[in-house]
């Protein structure tokens, strides 16, 4: 009797975690956390964006926040700045990354591991840390960069205090941080291209440059898409660098969407308006990602 209860106990314990129930137990922690900390806030944020609150009382306000957003010159400025940085920075960075990857893939190169470490190093630094270092290097009066320029007879540039140069500084900083990262992705892609393609091309008399355009670039297309989507999403969320380097200035010339969201949410504590900004950001990212995949995907057919 005793033995059989022990056995049935053992059985019922076994029964609780069976191959049928096990997957639910395995995903439970992730799903519960995901619902509380992602699904709930995403929904709540949408609700907040349709409300206004004063004195702790929230009332439904329809599209008021969005209407206000579309009449807000600073929002357009933030949008414009973010897209300017996106349109200029991402192509420059990806071009340098591909060219570096091609050089790194050269058969003549020794010590490839060393170069790879050196180029990848910026990608492991904290965003805040490197932004601070750049801030000091780009100082108008005493910065290292202006000193170096003075050696070749160039007058000091107001890197962080001029609306145009502040954008340039941001672009330079972001490019420094992420080029090596993208280069490593491209390098892995290059190493997957079959050598036969190049051999066949040289037999046909195609030169190196021709080979680059007619073999290398087309073969790298999926990787371009991957890095392009990643960089686009990253740039649209740009926050740490403008926050540290320029604080969005001068004259809001480096105000990004994320920074504007932060300022409205946590300096003015206008959670409703900030939520509307967040949702516009979601829509932009969704549209752009869809568009990029569509454009590149269609050419495949």
């Amino acid at each position: 009797m005793n033995q059989s209860t022990a056995e049935s106990k053992k059985k019922s314990k076994r029964k609780f975690i069976t191959p049928k129930t096990a997957p639910y137990i395995f995903i439970a922690p992730a799903v519960i956390l995901f619902i509380i900390f992602t699904v709930y806030p995403v929904v709540q944020s949408l609700i907040l964006s349709f409300q206004t609150s004063s004195g702790g009382v929230s009332t439904f306000a329809g599209l008021d926040n969005y209407r206000r957003l579309f009449n807000d010159p600073l929002f357009y400025k933030a949008l414009g700045n973010t897209f300017t940085i996106l349109i200029i920075q991402v192509p420059i960075m990806l071009t340098i990354a591909v060219l570096l990857a091609v050089l790194m893939n050269s058969a003549l190169l020794k010590m490839r591991a060393f170069f790879r470490i050196a180029f990848f190093m910026p990608a492991i630094t904290a965003l805040v840390a490197y932004a601070i270092v750049f801030m000091i290097m780009l100082d108008e009066n005493y910065g290292l960069v202006n000193y170096a320029l003075s050696l070749v007879g160039i007058d000091p540039i107001a890197w962080l205090n001029d609306p145009f140069w502040a954008k340039v500084s941001l672009i330079v900083a972001v490019t420094w941080r992420w080029t090596g990262y993208n280069m490593v992705i491209f390098l892995a892609g290059l190493q997957n291209i079959s050598n036969d393609l190049y051999e066949a091309a040289s037999i046909d008399g195609a030169g190196k440059i021709r080979q680059f355009f007619s073999i290398t670039l087309p073969q790298l297309k999926p990787i371009f898409l991957f890095t392009f989507v990643l960089s686009t999403i990253g740039t649209l969320q740009l926050f740490d660098e403008p926050f540290i380097l320029t604080g969005g200035g001068p004259n809001n010339s480096t105000l990004t969407i994320s920074l504007y969201l932060y300022i409205n949410g946590f300096r003015y504590f206008d959670f409703n308006y900030a939520s509307a900004i967040a949702y516009i950001l979601v829509i932009i990212i969704a549209l752009l990602s869809w568009f990029q995949m569509k454009v590149v995907g269609d050419k495949d057919d």
Binding site: F26, F34, A118, F120, T125, A129, I185
Partner: protein, 280 residues
């Protein structure tokens, strides 16, 4: 003669190649060198003309000042506790979920997985404000758990674990079942040990994410004794009289451990930071 000509062009090509890459290495590495120089010099020396490019003897003074201003040891400890706890727990949660999605048939699997994938595309700014309200309501502002909890179920990490775990042969799992191992035991003694490289890559990815995380800790940690390194560093920049020696030491302290770790484990690191998209 053609042989000779080939040799010279090869040498010229080599010179060009190494010059270009050398310039790249210089641009890429110089800020690090300069950061170390700054960390050992007084604030004024960083802005001297011509610039000071040799290490100074102000390391300990900078350290003392930095500790007076932000309590750097406390800040480093905060960063370590948050990052390590987060990484260990998140790896467990994400690999368990990844295993279920990869190796079991169950109702709701595909829709749930699709929801997670969708979340990869969502910028985390959207969750910022409701999460802040949530943490404020339960009284968790200025706590470790407020920083740790929201990203534990990291969709990209779950996705990566699932992709990697699909390569586990079903026969291995079946054999363990025939031997009488329960599902939990299979996960801990069969699955996790065979997945070590993937676990390392995902752990590094998660570690770097949390170590560098700035916006969320900035929002949720208002008390300077709870600051993480990035938040403490940004608070130094905001001070009215900025002491650059201190700041450079602070950035060095936040970068150096990762750098050493990176040099030791560079292959795992690269594959980890790239989210396992590059395997070697």
């Amino acid at each position: 003669m053609t042989n000779n000509k080939n040799k010279t062009t090869t040498i010229l090509k080599k010179i060009g190649l190494y010059t270009l890459l050398g310039i790249g290495v210089f641009l890429s590495m110089f800020p690090f060198y300069w950061m170390f120089i700054g960390a050992t010099n007084p604030s004024g020396a960083i802005f001297s003309m011509p610039p000071n490019l040799v290490p100074g003897d102000h390391f300990f003074e900078n350290l003392r000042n930095l500790n007076e201003n932000v309590g750097i040891w406390r800040v480093i400890m905060n960063s370590l506790i948050i990052t390590l706890t987060f990484t260990v727990v998140s790896v467990m949660i994400c690999s368990a979920a990844g295993f279920a999605f990869a190796k079991y048939q169950f109702k709701g699997r595909d829709p749930i997985f699709f929801m997670l994938l969708l979340a990869i595309m969502i910028p985390y700014h959207v969750t910022l404000i409701p999460l802040f309200e949530l943490m404020a309501n339960v009284g968790w502002l200025n706590t470790y758990q407020a920083v740790i909890l929201p990203h534990l179920a990291y969709p990209f990490a779950i996705f990566l674990m699932r992709q990697n775990m699909r390569s586990i042969p079903n026969s291995l799992l079946e054999a363990a079942r025939v031997d009488g191992a329960g599902e939990m035991r299979i996960f801990f003694t069969v699955v996790l040990p065979t997945m070590r490289p993937a676990l390392a890559a995902v752990a590094i990815f998660l570690f770097m994410f949390q170590w560098n995380n700035f916006l969320w800790p900035l929002v949720v940690l208002g008390d300077s004794s709870m600051y993480t390194l990035p938040v403490a560093l940004s608070s130094l920049v905001g001070m009215s009289r900025i002491d650059y020696g201190q700041i450079m030491l602070g950035t060095t302290l936040s970068t150096l451990p990762i750098m050493v770790f990176f040099l030791l484990l560079q292959r795992q690191f690269i594959s980890g930071i790239l989210g396992g998209s590059v395997k070697e």
